[in-house]
Amino acid sequence: MGNITVTINGTEISVPDPMTILEAATQNNIDIPTLCHQPDLTPNGVCRICVVEVEGARTLVAACHTPLTDGMVIHTRSPKVLSVRKTIVELLLTAHTGTCVNDVNAANCALHKLASDLEVGEPRFHVQKPRFYAPEESNPYVTRDLSKCILCFKCVKACDEIAGKGVLSVGYRGFESKIITGCDDALTHDICKDCIVCADACPTGALSRPDLLDKKQKGAV
């Protein structure tokens, strides 16, 4: 388990083995955006926002779960990477229903922040039937608005791995996929108690803490 040498954006660096591309980049102050990744959760590489170019690789790879190998040459901001990343944001936005323009919680939405960072303009992709789920406010600790969910599965992982409760999982398939509790039941106090790790993990405000929301709303008025 010695050190290996890799090149990120033209700079040669030496890092301990094993390590992922993302970990090495973060350690060297190279910013790679992420949505579904959190350092204390197992990476699952579903959102693809962290894609980077690795010389010799057939496709772009997700930095969050790709281990470094000796001599790897990585580009994190090449034109190809930026253009793909932008398209990924646009695709994610199509399923992220509702303009967050009037939403006080939009400031918390990592997807919108990313869209503005990458200068994603007017929506390019249109869906015939946008996903819509009524927001749920019955749980005093977590507010759920699944229309905003981008299915990054971070909440599922957080609930399993941090809280150890396994209350959340994925139900249905394809475009109908959604994060469910119980037999696709409402998120009530009986199912989900006050640990709120899922709300803290959620990058888009699909799960949020009503207490924080209240404060912001009051502040905004």
Partner: protein, 148 residues
């Protein structure tokens, strides 16, 4: 329905038996009742939401009650090129429901599915587990009349 587990034995079952159990439930009750999901989750030591996740994922399992006969029409490319739209329309007209619905008398449910492996006889559909291929709108009535 409340005591689902009496008909299908859940004793000595492990996680890997989940799919077979759900399949038996589907055959027995024409859908997977909530009570069955709850009992199965308890017996296998899994959270209910995970059992529901599996039950709702597969096209041949349903968490909503289905009719006596389930019509599954392929909507993938080979069938599409062989005019499956027309078949879908004539089935819709014949039984008066749209995909995802069940007739009020509970006789038929209609679903659109992915490839059923009958591309050689496209356009094709399944009624329960019977494959019907080389369909034409004229043959739909004839075929459906054999299921009562």
């Amino acid at each position: 329905m409340e005591r689902a587990s009496q008909d299908i034995s859940l004793s000595d079952k492990k996680r890997e038996d989940l799919l077979m159990l759900l399949k038996s439930a589907q055959a027995e009750y024409r859908h997977i009742p909530r009570a069955f999901i709850v009992d199965t989750a308890k017996a296998l030591g899994l959270p209910e939401n995970q059992v529901f996740g599996v039950a709702s994922f597969y096209a041949f399992l349903s968490v909503e009650p289905l009719g006596k006969h389930v019509i599954r029409i392929c909507q993938n490319l080979p069938c599409y090129l062989k005019n499956s739209r027309m078949i879908i329309d004539s089935v819709k007209k014949k039984i008066g429901i749209i995909p995802g619905e069940t007739t009020p008398d509970g006789r038929f449910s209609l679903e659109l599915v992915s490839c059923i492996g009958a591309c050689d006889v496209a356009p094709a559909m399944l009624v329960n587990h019977d494959v019907h291929g080389n369909l034409t709108p004229q043959r739909i009535s004839e075929i459906l009349n054999t299921y009562d």
